[in-house]
Subunit: 545 residues, 2 copies
Amino acid sequence: MVMSAAAKPKVVVLGAGFGGAYTAKHLHRLLGKRAEIELINQSNYFVFQPLLPEVASGTINAQDAVTPLRLMIPGIKFRMAEVLDIDFDRRVVCLVQGSKRRMLECRYDHLVIAGGQQTNLSFLPGFTEHSLTLKNLADAHHLRNVVIERLEHADVTQDTELKKRLLTFVVAGGGFSGVETIGEMSEMIRRILKYYPNIEAQELRGVLVQRGDRILPELPEKLAAYAHRQLQRRGIEIMLNCGLKSASATAVELDSGEKIDTATVVSTIGNGPSKLVLSLEKKQGLRLERGKIRTDRYLRVAGHENVWSIGDAALIPMVEQPRDAADFAPPTAQYAVREARCLARNIAARLKGKRVKPFNYTPKGSLASIGNYKAVAKVFGVRFSGVIAWSMWRGFYMLMLPGFITKMRVALNWFLDYFVPRTIVQVSTTQSRACRYARYCAGEVIFVPGQIADGLYVVVEGQLEAVRSGQGDSKIVRKLEPGDHWGDNLLQDNQQTSGYLKAVIDSRVLILQRDDFAALRESMPPVDAYLNSAASTKWSTSEQI
Amino acid sequence: MVMSAAAKPKVVVLGAGFGGAYTAKHLHRLLGKRAEIELINQSNYFVFQPLLPEVASGTINAQDAVTPLRLMIPGIKFRMAEVLDIDFDRRVVCLVQGSKRRMLECRYDHLVIAGGQQTNLSFLPGFTEHSLTLKNLADAHHLRNVVIERLEHADVTQDTELKKRLLTFVVAGGGFSGVETIGEMSEMIRRILKYYPNIEAQELRGVLVQRGDRILPELPEKLAAYAHRQLQRRGIEIMLNCGLKSASATAVELDSGEKIDTATVVSTIGNGPSKLVLSLEKKQGLRLERGKIRTDRYLRVAGHENVWSIGDAALIPMVEQPRDAADFAPPTAQYAVREARCLARNIAARLKGKRVKPFNYTPKGSLASIGNYKAVAKVFGVRFSGVIAWSMWRGFYMLMLPGFITKMRVALNWFLDYFVPRTIVQVSTTQSRACRYARYCAGEVIFVPGQIADGLYVVVEGQLEAVRSGQGDSKIVRKLEPGDHWGDNLLQDNQQTSGYLKAVIDSRVLILQRDDFAALRESMPPVDAYLNSAASTKWSTSEQI
């Protein structure tokens, strides 16, 4: 291919995680002004994913853990937009940007799909509705605020059962992410507990649930055992060989049938293809394997000469005839960064008419922090643990962090965290969605007398019942089936409940926030008419709970 | 009153702004363990309000500008909760806390109402829907992210009219808050503009709209004139003697009828009573004057021996026979802090059976920062401006900031900001409400062909029309009246618009977010049935735009 100033080849990179951002950076270095490079991402910053547990625990300010992409990779075109579709035949990416969502098309000569994976917990009932994840900056920020909210509430409530639930924290998944998350969370709570005079340390419960027979399967057994002992010493319960069955608004259920009452479940499991990749599979026949885009050894997407994929989104063979999971590149930052370098070289080679090379990499080591100035590591085959491993871990992150300014900001945060009490500022966590789903297990109580309804409850699956309790007797006032709703009268008059609302069987409920409910009812006459007629036929005023 | 260990007198303080937080602090100092002091606030931190423009401009991290109340006032009882009502006869405060909104009652012997005021812009059509405010931490955080989003979008759009609108920033109100906000915003944009290669400095427009005949009416005329010149020198347009009439999704309209195309309006005007105070007026006959709780000179609420009020919520006479606004304490932080001291002493005096004293204070001076290392100040009658005033302003804030750790955090932020480029990390600003209202002026275009609907549009007031344009001709496909809706077909099929949606007359629209719309439609069969029947009767598929 001959490059002229008139028609520069255009390389479009989708996604700015470790894979995408470093591909764009290397491409710019290799090609300079000889190619047009466009990086498209939904946020305008690069997240250093391994630091998210530290953001969630308040060690590092959210803004300081990320690097603006325009600073990180100057000289390329950056676009903050959402990709809706790709047309491989016409070689265009369809995207929307800004709030008015105008559809735009972006042409490419070479395309890199590096959008990572998306959490998919639909196989575990209730997890989508009630577990928190730790995939991006907003998640980390949210988790920190949720933990503080739990402590604020536990400090003032008089309800001992509620207090116990508020002080129980469950983390699902015992890999790197799960272990670092529970380690950091427990350290954070330990450090800020002194501000909550009504909470005793022994009232706190932290549980790590792992399906396999040990934590940190990515590391040698001895290091995992060390981490295990350290976490246990800090009072964290580790449940091995233990699968999760479901979650609800008040508990998680284990495979064994055992239930753990908790208001806070963090899930580090369940990765699946992104929405874009799923739609490409459906509409464009993109070939997926193990939920990922299958590439050849040169990082090319099977069947496409000019489409490439790397990072968590891609399934990259490390040998000619891959047989099992171990024959593919693992989804870690270390690998993604190396894949990016190889990919940028291959695209540059193609544009210059040279030969592409297969991806090869032998990892140098693995590290995991477990909080409280301790970590475990295996580097160049040597095992480390404790404070030494923790220092290596921080040093390694310092090296990996992109840009001098980000390094400086993170270092300063670490420094401050050592000397200054951790802040307990709770920034509003009001749910960002007016409609949210909730799952309730059979027998679970949703409302007790004396509460104010927080929204309209619409039964999606299962069955609820409204129960009024008088002197010694209780009477089932009404059964609610899918499509039925509860709470409209209470919301309208701002009344308190006078009875109980319970799930009869496992149920799924759509909750429409009170303010949004009021707005909708006011603005859409048919909705209001329906609610009024439903109220008069299904309920008599004396039967409200 | 004799105090015994068995029944300690209880003082409840509502609101933790300058007035409430300092009242609680002084009460604790004066009374120690001889009284039970409970501070109730919706957030668990104290906001140093005068720093909000600096948070909005990214000089200071959001978390660092605030002080956790539990750190600031140890030894008292703090409760993060929302106050719904007060029963003056029974001497209880009704509140809800946590997510399940259980109603609780909190008894008091003395009550301090210090909840401040609330923005009320209902007298200006479209301002509630489309203007941003700067009252709390979330507002400041949001404003910063909105400004960055505008720049991100302006950098990539091809639509010159849209670009102009995205780069026009209007601030309503030329008092302290408005001047500091536009000064800080303009400095922020100036500093980060280098990351946006497609935006030229001369494309930016900043407008300050002030109803009076000069800015900073709180300060002497010469200082205001200096600030005026400085802002103008930086390219900010200042419109004096200029009232605002309305705002819409794309413009603000002035009293003169002139329109300014803008996507970003910040409002620093329009304070009114809080929801709680309004409901107390209605239900309990609390006496309001000028929208505030009228107190006597001892800070007691008229007609209540054991209820007190200070800060922005209260109207406090400074003389025996107040005649005009100048005879009442102005709503500034300086006054609130002094009021708090006087109030704490008066409550302590009452509990000890001593005499209360009237509130008296002569302010020492006023300062306003105008960004770019410049400020104006009048202290002990002497005027200062430029870098000297700016240094005084920073020094004064350092003194005022509560607690050593907050001082240190803010100082560090200031230090860093001097040496390090300002970050342009844009943290998600996805609207926090599924239902939002929008206002469109007569003739305003809401959708053009090729867009993807972002939600269901329900007409609340006014009239919209859907127009299809073919070769040279355009045809009105449908008129939408209040109660009618638009977008359901497009949302269901994820199609692009093929025509225009316009406001015929000034209109108000409720927008229900696309995901929430889908959830509601799926879960509530009657809603779905209504939409289907509306679609089949009112629309034929060929008539969709």
